[in-house]
Assembly symmetry: C2
């Protein structure tokens, strides 16, 4: 998926820097500090994690820059408020997150039988979002749409 040479010496490449910059700006504007930990977390997400949970993030940071889970948990609300992340769903007793920044959020089909989650995209949702926000005077940071039921393999389970 990634090319052999990845310029690991340049930690922030291309437009990833822009997104990181937006996060830094958010922190400064709100009186939070820009720390290496917060940068490492945000960078890891921007680079590697469309979809993740706290433990995955913790493990993947472990090799480069170990960061305590407490700090990860403390960074998450900041990243959500800055529009970088969204909570997507609770599964197996813990929360899963999804990168929002610079990406159309995916929607999910969840099978109640096999628990699989399929992604799909539905461009109309952007219009619905726009209309509702205009109506309600709401400033949107992100959205999600989810359908649950039975996937094609599990239809028989639903008698």
């Amino acid at each position: 998926m990634s090319s052999a040479k990845k310029n690991v010496d340049k930690p922030v490449a291309g437009d990833l820097g822009e997104e990181l910059e937006a996060f830094r700006k958010y922190l400064k504007n709100h009186g939070f500090r820009v720390t290496r930990e917060r940068e490492a977390i945000a960078e890891s997400i921007l680079r590697n994690h469309e979809h993740f949970d706290v433990d995955e993030l913790f493990m993947s940071l472990r090799s480069k820059k170990p960061i305590s889970k407490a700090s990860i948990y403390r960074a998450i609300p900041l990243m959500i408020q800055s529009g970088l992340l969204a909570e997507v769903y609770l599964e197996d007793g813990h929360m899963h997150y999804e990168k929002v920044y610079g990406r159309e959020l995916h929607s999910h089909l969840r099978c109640l039988n096999c628990r699989r989650v399929l992604e799909f995209s539905a461009p109309e949702l952007a219009q619905v979002e726009k209309r509702i926000c205009r109506q309600e005077g709401f400033k949107s940071v992100g959205n999600k749409f989810e359908i649950w039921g039975y996937c094609s393999n599990c239809q028989d389970e639903k008698k």
Copy 2:
């Protein structure tokens, strides 16, 4: 909201019986037993709780028919699978549920600043759901749409 006389002697009135019946049928078809506890839980939800969490349900059952939280937790997956309920969001560290049966599911606007949740309805979502399900061969039981951001009172917080 409710009229003075409510016929409390007839525990299941009107079309509520139909919905309860559907739940009973689900249980039987899947080899689960129809117990008083499950009936009391389902009835309470159908009658009183558009929106609730486990503790609220526990408290409201307490007076009529006390049921342990363990049993409530064990009943919830059954009610979700039968199409009676949906998980709607995790807030303050616990899950909130919403009645689905016989009701168009509401969608939510969540303010990241004041944490308020506003409801809205968007009929187009039903069409999106239909189309996606046809495309994917998915049998839907319910859906939810959520937008997060800043409500009209909290726009200034997002600098």
